[in-house]
């Protein structure tokens, strides 16, 4: 079936396409008579305006793009949900894209979005060029040189001046390490994310700083380099089991890695909170499956999503927009216990 155009509607209503257009876009300069006939005809024919043609004229699409790192990571799924609801409240449609933690897929999606002239972009940046260089990837540079309203979310990117909405875990990690230190923990491991992401780098730096503040060993040998995904969490867990002098506590930098790690430790017979104290980043619903309940460091993602959309809206309105840094929360739960004796006799 041929798509129904505004001309078809106009013909059916016995008016010109200009009048039909005016009626359909709410222009007040229309008579009641034509208004009735046009709306009736449009409904009758099932007219759906061609957004391509419309935005070719008006250069506005009332849509934004959201690029996340990994749809299957509950953290980003929650963020996507929050952004979508906030955007919907402003009459914006959200196109969600999945980068798979891969700069190439990120760029593909961004190119498609720029081609479709979205009004703005919310970007969880996927790190630098695959060249290993120090510049942002081509599509991201393109975004900036073309002055497309862009807000970085969750992560920042070196050399990119766009405003961002992120979360700082400095205080939460300080609290968490204080709690561990109080319970006698001296060797605390860190299962981190990929170095090139700002979140991974910051979380580890904050962790080191918190250790130092409590007079604990701040060597780099208790740092496992994961990639934010489940299998690398399992690897990290095995790495920890293989350490000569086993740490008594561990901090894991996101929830998929925590899932992978906890499964390995349980299989190895380690009880969380008893044999090994565990703190995981993110506080996802599925953590309720774990016994004992997991201590977490988490962000309010609804807030993050809402603020990201607010910031982007400012930018799209031509107003200058400031960056926001939210605070993370440390939640103490039973997966933290007293440090086990070292080398029990």
């Amino acid at each position: 079936m041929q798509p129904v155009t505004i001309r078809d509607v106009a013909r059916a209503a016995g008016v010109s396409s200009a009048t039909a257009s005016r009626v359909l876009s709410g222009n007040p300069a229309t008579s009641e008579a034509s208004r009735d006939r046009v709306t009736a005809a449009a409904a009758e024919l099932g007219f759906s305006p061609n957004a391509q043609a419309r935005s070719l004229r008006s250069t506005r699409t009332d849509s934004i793009a959201l690029l996340i790192s990994d749809v299957r990571n509950p953290y980003f799924a929650d963020l996507a949900h929050a952004v979508e609801q906030a955007a919907r409240n402003r009459g914006l449609v959200t196109f969600i894209g999945n980068a798979n933690e891969d700069p190439a897929q990120q760029d593909e999606f961004l190119d498609a979005m720029m081609s479709r002239r979205v009004d703005g972009v919310l970007l969880v940046p996927q790190g630098l060029d695959s060249d290993g260089g120090t510049r942002p990837s081509p599509a991201v540079e393109h975004l900036l040189t073309r002055d497309i309203p862009t807000v970085l979310v969750d992560r920042t990117l070196a050399g990119v001046a766009a405003p961002h909405v992120t979360a700082s875990s400095t205080a939460a990690l300080h609290d968490a390490v204080a709690r561990l230190a109080r319970d006698g923990h001296r060797r605390i491991a860190f299962i981190g994310g990929p170095e090139h992401t700002s979140t991974a780098a910051e979380r580890y730096a904050d962790f080191r700083a918190a250790l130092a503040a409590h007079g604990l060993d701040a060597g780099d040998d208790l740092h496992f380099h994961g990639d934010f995904r489940t299998p690398s969490g399992a690897e990290g867990a095995r790495w920890l089991l293989g350490l000569e002098e086993r740490p008594t506590a561990v901090v894991i930098a996101d929830s998929p890695m925590a899932i992978g790690a906890l499964a390995v430790w349980r299989e190895a017979g380690l009880a969380a909170g008893t044999d090994l104290s565990v703190i995981a980043f993110d506080d996802i619903e599925a953590f309720a499956l774990h016994d004992p309940p997991l201590a977490t460091i988490s962000h309010d993602l609804t807030d993050m999503g809402r603020r990201a959309v607010d910031t982007l809206a400012d930018l799209m309105a031509g107003q200058p927009a400031a960056s926001t840094v939210l605070r993370s929360t440390f939640t103490d739960r039973a997966s933290i216990g007293p440090a086990a004796e070292r080398n029990p006799a």
Copy 2:
């Protein structure tokens, strides 16, 4: 900055816009000389073609829409990931939309997608009109009358003739009930999804049939009506605890409800596999957090996503497309144990 058009590129390359277009869209009727100059100019100016204008001419957008019920449900997140990868392999961009299990949000997204003239739609339908009527929602009817290639995924919809890619759990539920019956279970509860979704209805019907096949009580009083979300799983768990004669086993129709239910039961001191045997639909990574490991009934979502895209591609190519019904798998794990004694002395 003004967007760079193909005319700018043509001018910079010293050719006509027609030649520039031919070069940029890979038309072989071009000389090596102009090819070089045009590609150089395009790169120099950072040209990005306007997809609106392009598809205004060519009526193809090389994009598809995927509407899922709930981004935060890992089942649909996995499906979205699978679809996206499969579509990408065919050069199609996927726009993911989230309906929140709400027909109104479904229709909003579908309208936006129709406006943008996507080449096809993969739809997890959100049930009937809010009127409670028996017809599909307006946007879905629109999709069909306009003959937009559409494939139903995961769920079907009464009265909609579009091909579908779904999964049948008939055999898996038969296996699961057989396993429970063998272990002495006679009272088996079912925490189901919303009746108006085909998956919820089918799963419950198959469950009832499996019970009957094993000569078990098939009354309707052990059926809790949930909504596929975590809080309703918790409600279902409390409902089960309040039953006069407590069932010894339970089947839960999706993973978020399982998460909600298991947390409640643990808090109440019930051990899965000992006090209550548990089988959950879906086999998500996060289930690894649970001890003992959960018995599951699951689908291969990568397969489902791939086939959905295959089917849609056939439709878009004008070929007739057949529906596919995949088979679910029952995985026996330690959350199933012997039926506890009833009314122990």
